[in-house]
Amino acid sequence: MTSISSASPAFTGRDPDNRLFGPLPDVQGEAGYDGDHPARVGFFTDTSVCIGCKACEVACKEWNTLPMDDAHGVRDVIGLSGMSYDNTGQLGANSWRHVAFIEQTRTVDLPMPTFGRPGDDRQDSGRSVPDGPNDDSLATAQQSSVLNAEALSEFDPQTGQSGTDKQIRWLMSSDVCKHCTHAGCLDVCPTGALFRTEFGTVVVQDDICNGCGYCVPSCPYGVIEQRKGDGRVFKCTMCYDRLTDGLQPACATACPTQSIQFGNLDELQARADARLATLKEQGVETARLYGRDEDDGVGGNGAFFLLLDEPEVYGLPPDPIVTTRDLPAMWKSAGAAAVMILGVALSAVLGSRRLR
């Protein structure tokens, strides 16, 4: 068997284009696995059906025996974040799934005073999406250029209506390590503790990691973190132990709404594209896929998302790039600067006459 490299394919000679970013059709192959490696797996997290139950967080904590901490990563305390129903706060060494919870309002222009008894509209908005609006109301909604509260509440899967000119919705999204195609954490790890598995995921070997901490600021998503009191770093392994035994990851297994879908990455991508099309058809215009685009700054994510608002609303960077994309320029600059030192020192010595 060939040796598995923990460096980017660009420096192993296996990638003729020397790519430190951009799409990689065969991530495992580029990392040195034989042709018969398993397919690349991943997560498609469809936040439009997430109910914020946090079963994934709990399942992950249980399976991986993660210690307790509060929203700021302080170990062994129970703390309320005080900002929303989200008391996990962030992904970190002790929280490998994090359900973001955003409460939003918007003011809506009601086009006409409501006819009929008060409360009628509420029953209306209770209709579930799959029974769905009929074609008439769809057409009406698309025609109306104002923010029509009634129509929108039917179309946005996470909208509730407060009955006034204000609307409220809850966005919930289960965040996780993205298992990037070009993973910053993996590229910069000096010990080789981080490696690419045969499933195309990115995993830390905790018997190798020496806690240098370089991966922590190098992740463009702020996922990987050093565990206080331990010194090493931890993050989602995509349940490497379960995968090797043919099981699904714990979080996906626990998710009651199939918001977290686990599978082969190409199948998930197709499923996500179809889901996006359905939502767009239903008029959910703010739906978008995040991390699906293989031309993005990290070559696409192994764990990608369907979001209902801008990525930064969920605490995700809008246009992440893998930091090593610019590494050749940096090395060049460092080389030039080293030569500069030599040049300055040389001319300083040659330009100084001894006065003795």
């Binding site: 590229d187 790890c189 600021p217 930064e312 969920y314 960077p317 930091t323 030192i341």
Partner: protein, 345 residues
């Protein structure tokens, strides 16, 4: 993908208390965007998840890491000075430069190891060699450098093996330049906005700052008539450091901001004063004992403060989601408007 029904995001705003509800607004500092006719424009408006940082700030400790950078820079440049002084027969300068580089090298290793979460696993750094990891390459620079520079300084102290000493000094000098500059890559090759943006400049800042420190220290320790090269290197280093730092502080729009503000701003202003004063004093009074000592101390202090300032600026830019979101939004907008994208392939 900002289309809503009528407004971007379809008018949704976070629904909780006033501080979070009001969308953070900032007026961009005018000017200073490379290649942009868009300098004076927009109020950068951005959203975040309850004001939480997007990337994780580095877990590197201060003062360990800034000290490591400072010592590495001083050690690197003085090892070169030692080798050149040795070849041009300046015995006192050679000796002092070797002491500086050896001592700083050993101390920097101590600080680096101390900063690890698992110091006993330091040697895991040498398990693999990875060009994509500046810390891996840096370990392969630091290990031979500190061995050579430390050994050279030790035999210098003991007065043994004069021939071997010269060889050790040359080996150290070969790794000295890279040791002083790779740390710029170490910082820049992260997702920390204010470091990554300045990725071409930081190696020059750190390299030049290393020259100022190394030149200053060796000049302060050595007899006036031998220390001419040190004075020249110190002044040149200080000038280049000031120029490169000026670029870092002005060229990068919003991510240059952390270099002016708060603790980092204060540190860097102090650094600039020390460096400039040290260089000026070297020129006017470097040929007098007291002048050389004071100037050398000022240059070293300036170099040290620069590392602390750059470190703090990066930490500040990592802690505030603004510095992650706004530049990325600008990049997206530029791409959508068909401007030449920042990402070049």
């Amino acid at each position: 993908m900002t289309e809503g029904i009528t407004t971007p995001g379809a008018g949704w705003r976070r629904a909780d208390g006033p501080p979070a509800q009001k969308r953070q607004k900032r007026r961009r500092r005018g000017g200073g965007r490379p290649g942009g006719e868009v300098a004076m424009v927009e109020e950068a408006e951005f959203t975040s998840y309850y004001g939480r940082p997007i990337i994780k700030p580095p877990v590197w400790k201060t003062p360990d890491v800034p000290l490591y950078l400072f010592l590495g820079g001083a050690a690197g440049s003085s090892s070169i000075m030692a080798a050149l002084a040795d070849l041009t027969d300046r015995p006192a300068l050679t000796r002092n430069a070797r002491y500086v580089s050896g001592g700083a090298a050993i101390a920097s290793v101590v600080f680096l190891v101390h900063d690890l979460g698992r110091p006993e696993r330091f040697l895991h750094m040498l398990r693999v060699i990875k060009p994509t990891s500046p810390l891996s390459i840096g370990s392969y620079i630091l290990a031979p450098f500190s061995a050579a520079a430390g050994a050279t300084a030790a035999v210098e102290l003991l007065g043994w093996f004069p021939r071997l000493k010269r060889f050790g000094g040359v080996v150290a000098a070969l790794f000295g330049g890279p040791l002083a500059t790779y740390t710029g890559v170490l910082f820049a090759n992260t997702a920390v906005p204010s470091w990554h943006a300045a990725h071409k400049e930081l190696p020059f800042v750190f390299g030049a700052s290393g020259m100022a420190a190394g030149g200053g220290l060796t000049m302060a320790l050595s007899p006036i008539d031998e220390a001419g090269p040190s004075r020249k290197m110190a002044v040149a280093g200080a000038a280049i450091e000031l120029a490169a730092m000026h670029r870092v502080e002005t060229e990068f729009g919003i991510v240059s901001e952390p270099y002016h503000e708060g603790r980092a701003g204060r540190l860097l202003r102090a650094a600039k004063s020390c460096t400039a004063a040290g260089a000026a004093l070297t020129v006017v009074a470097g040929r007098r004992r007291a002048g050389a000592v004071v100037a050398g101390a000022l240059l070293a202090a300036g170099s040290l403060l620069t590392r602390f300032g750059v470190f703090e600026a990066g930490m500040a830019s990592a802690r505030d989601p603004k510095y992650t979101v706004v530049p990325q939004r600008e990049r997206l907008a530029a791409r959508e408007n068909g401007h030449a994208p920042t990402i070049t392939r």
